[in-house]
Structures are given as C-alpha cells and as structure tokens.
Amino acid sequence: MLPDARSVGRARNVRDDDVSDTLKPSTKNSLLDALSREEYERLAPSLEEVSLTLSQILFRPDDEIAHAYFPTTSIVSLLTNLTDGSGMEVGLVGREGMVGVSVILGGNETKVATVQATGHALKIRADDLRREFNRGGALQNGLLRYTHALMTQISQSVVCNARHPLPGRLARWLLMYHDRLGRDEFDLTHEFISHMLGVRRAGVTEVANELQKMGLISYQYGHVRITNRRGLEDFTCECYSVVKEKFDGFLL
C-alpha cells in the first residue's frame, strides 16, 4: 500500500515500526525517502503503487516515456539491444533508484527497461515528476546524484566487459542483485544471465557452474541461492566495490 502522509499524523493504517508521529512513512525507495516531509506530501498524490511482473517491458528505445518508476521491492534491468536481437544489460535499478531518468534529462530512451524481479514500484507521470524536479529541491538533488551513480555503474561495465573474465563478472551482477533484493534466493532465468554477461544462453550454465563448484551459489533450473556472500565478494572483480561506493547512501 502506498504510504499516505496524511494518514501518518492520525497514526492510521501505518505499521508502528515504520513511523512515529513526527516522521513521514517509509516508501521503501531511497530517493523518495530522502525527501522532506513537505516535498513528499506534495509528490504523494502523484505516486501510484503498481505490481511489476517478470519480463514486463516498461519502455523501449525511442519511446517518449510517459511514466517513471521508483522500485520498492522490484528490480528493473536496463538493456542496450543490438540490431541482431542480442542485448546486453548495462544497468540495474532497484529500491535505490528510479527507472526512466530520461524523463528529467529530456529526449527519448535508448535502452530497454525490463522487469527482472517481480515486485512493487511507485509509478509517476512524467509531467508530475518534471514539475517537482523543476522546483530544484531535494528531489532534483537526489535524482542528479543518482543519475551520476547510474552513469558510474554503466561506465564501469565498459571496462569490466573489455577486461574481466566471465565468472567474476557474474559474481558482480549477482552481488548487485542481492544488494537490491535483500534476500538470498531468487529466480534468474538463463536469458537474464546471458544478458548480464553478453554470452549465448548455452554458455550460462558453464559460468554458473564455476561459481557453484566454489560453493558460492547454487544454481538450478533458473533458481539462484547465494550460499556464501562473503566468498562472492572476495571472488568478484574490483568493479563491484568501485560502483558500490557510488551507491552508498542510496543502497541502505
């Protein structure tokens, strides 16, 4: 349920651990939670809680985006597609961020946004988001900083894809995913992993097996379980921590 700022004052429909009388409710999205009470109350009527389902496409290249999404429990993957139909994941957006930064940057999208983990998000109309952004307050500041963190995530993939072996890269994506999902078991299809790594679906099992043999994960029939998070952190390429640092403050 979408937290209603007005109901908080009356302490109605809100769990005790979420708020006190003086605090605003947690939306479970870091960008929204960083807003002042006044800013949140102005924005709240424009936010609509929606369920996002696996593989749902939120936008495609050249779409002029009508809505942006603040994921709360869902994860959305940003893919750059090539004309032969092969794509590659360049970014991941969960409760730390917003899907659809092109709404504030202007212009059309060049990426595909696909739901990678079923869950909820708060949806907002592009116009409503722009209006609050243009006031120049905490939402603008948060979205600008978030945009730079997202740029760092994407640009680190340029060097990572050019330089690092596949198993370390898979470990990196799994850690990024784990950070955003906050649970050890999740479904991740061969197709998504093939996008993460830029390899054919047939090659996915081999890479996943390497992590499995080291006892870091178990992977069967598209179901992942992180069995040794510390081990994954030791094994992954350095790109994980370089980018993670940029999301400190967003990924709580």
Binding site: L82, R145, H148, T152
Partner: protein, 281 residues
C-alpha cells in the same frame, strides 16, 4: 589559425564595425567554428549580443540561447590542454568544468593492475565535469586529455549556480547527460560483444568527428590502453587497415585516408553514438 577562423573573424569584425544585425545573422548562418578568444573579445566589447556563441566551436555553448550564454560569458576562460594531462586530481576535487573545442578528453577507468579502458570520449559536442555538476562525490575514473587543443573552462561553483537557475542552460546540459549515458551504454555493449577491429574503427571515427582533421596524433600504445586491449592486437589491425589504404601511420601519427571505408566496416554502435551526439547538437 585555420582559413575558416580568419574568415570568420573578418566577418565578425566587419559586423562589429557596422553593427548590422543582418550581417551577424549571415555569419551565424555560415555556422563555422571560430576561436573562443576572438568571440570573447567581441563579447566583452558588448557587441549587440545576439547569439554570437552560435559561432563557437563547442556545440553545447553554441546551442544556448543568447541570454543564457551571456550570463556564462564573463566566467569562461580559454585553456590550452596538452595530451596526457589529467584534468582532475583526487586531492584537488573538480574545480573547473571544461567545454572542449579542438581538444578531445577521455574518461578512463583504471584497474588495480594498472590497465585502463576508456568509457567515454568528450570533444566539442560536450562538457567535462559532470560529477561536480550532478553533485556527486569525486569520480572513480580519470579525466585525461587524449588530443591536445583548446577548451573553454568555467569554475564549477559558477556553472552549478547557473545550472540551478533552471531554464535553457539546465535543459541543454541535462540533454548532454542523456547523450553521455547513451555513449556509455553503447560502449558497454560494444566492449562486451564486438571484435577489436570493429571497436577500433568506431573509436577512430568518433575521434575524427571530434577533431575535424584527418591527422591524429596517436600511438598504438595509447589506442590499445583506451580500448582495453593488447598493443599487439591494435598493431595487427592497424597494419591491415593500412594495407587496404584506409589509414596511414608513422611515428605516432595516424592519418584517416578513406573515411567511407572505415564507416563500411565499423559496428552499428558508431551510428548509435553519432545519433546521440547529434541530439545534443
């Protein structure tokens, strides 16, 4: 000074003397790049300030409406950048943003083992210093001059203040952020999926677009480090391109001889990258 620039300067000094709006517009119509110093000298003489900036080499500044540009003009200073120079150091923060003119600047990611890869190339279509503009902490990458040349620089606090006013400057710079994200995303998939030969052709074309000259001062070593591959691989491909008469090189100079054939062998990423740059321009 190139023939273009001297021609422009003549056109503009005529304009200043006569002060005819129509003639400035004629000069604007020509859309030829002129040197920043000339423009700024003219600007400071407070010429009828209709979009003189449209003649600037940097496309972001050129795209600004006259009144937005006028506010920046007193704060812009020319900077000569030398190849290999690092624009920012971790102990000094990001004091200036740079609008490149003839200079080309690389965003380089350096790994623990000392190897590096370029994630973005910024020339006269863009701006360097986005981390500060976007209120982010110090960047994790290096910002290094790839091709020596000129740029206009501005103190970051002043640019942020103007950016904070909203309006055309903010819209133009945010659109550029979008174009940069497109470059990064395309290069992420390119470095993951495409062969070194295609990536080299793409990189040379991007550089050629930004420098605007056929002769590029580059060693195989630099190319290899920017593409994140071994030097031997670059030499092999460069030899093949030379044998086919597409490029020539000696002693740290590469000359683009047949651009059309480079375009014919490049991966699709070049078209996408060109599109995103054009969107800003």
């Amino acid at each position: 000074m190139s023939a273009f620039e001297s021609k422009n300067e003549r056109a503009l000094s005529d304009t200043c003397r006569v002060g005819e709006r129509g003639r400035v517009e004629a000069a604007l119509g020509a859309r030829q790049a002129m040197s920043a110093e000339t423009l700024m000298a003219l600007g400071r003489k407070s010429v009828d300030a209709i979009s003189l900036n449209a003649l600037l080499a940097n496309k972001l500044l050129a795209a600004l409406p006259g009144d937005s540009f006028e506010r920046l003009l007193p704060h812009l200073e020319p900077a000569a950048l030398s190849a290999g120079e690092d624009l920012y150091r971790s102990d000094r923060g990001v004091p200036y943003a740079y609008f490149p003119e003839s200079a080309v600047i690389s965003q380089l990611h350096v790994l623990e083992d000392g190897n590096m890869t370029e994630a973005a190339m910024i020339g006269r279509e863009g701006l360097v210093g986005l981390s500060a503009l976007l209120n982010a902490s110090l960047p994790t990458y290096w910002t290094r001059v790839l091709i020596a040349g000129s740029a206009l620089r501005i103190r970051v606090d002043i640019l942020k203040q103007e950016f904070g006013r909203g309006g055309a400057l903010q819209r133009t710079l945010l659109a550029y952020v979008g174009a940069r994200i497109t470059q990064l995303s395309q290069r992420a998939v390119c470095s993951g999926r495409h062969k070194v030969g295609e990536r080299l052709c793409c990189w040379l074309l991007m550089l050629h677009d930004r420098v605007g000259e056929d002769q590029l001062q580059l060693t195989h070593e630099i190319i290899a480090s920017h593409l994140g591959v071994r030097r031997a691989g670059i030499t092999e491909i460069a030899n093949a391109l030379r044998d086919r008469g597409i490029i020539a090189y000696n002693r740290g100079l590469i000359r683009i001889i047949d651009r059309q054939r480079l375009e014919a062998v490049v991966c699709e990423c070049y078209r996408m990258l060109g599109r995103s740059a054009a969107r800003v321009m």
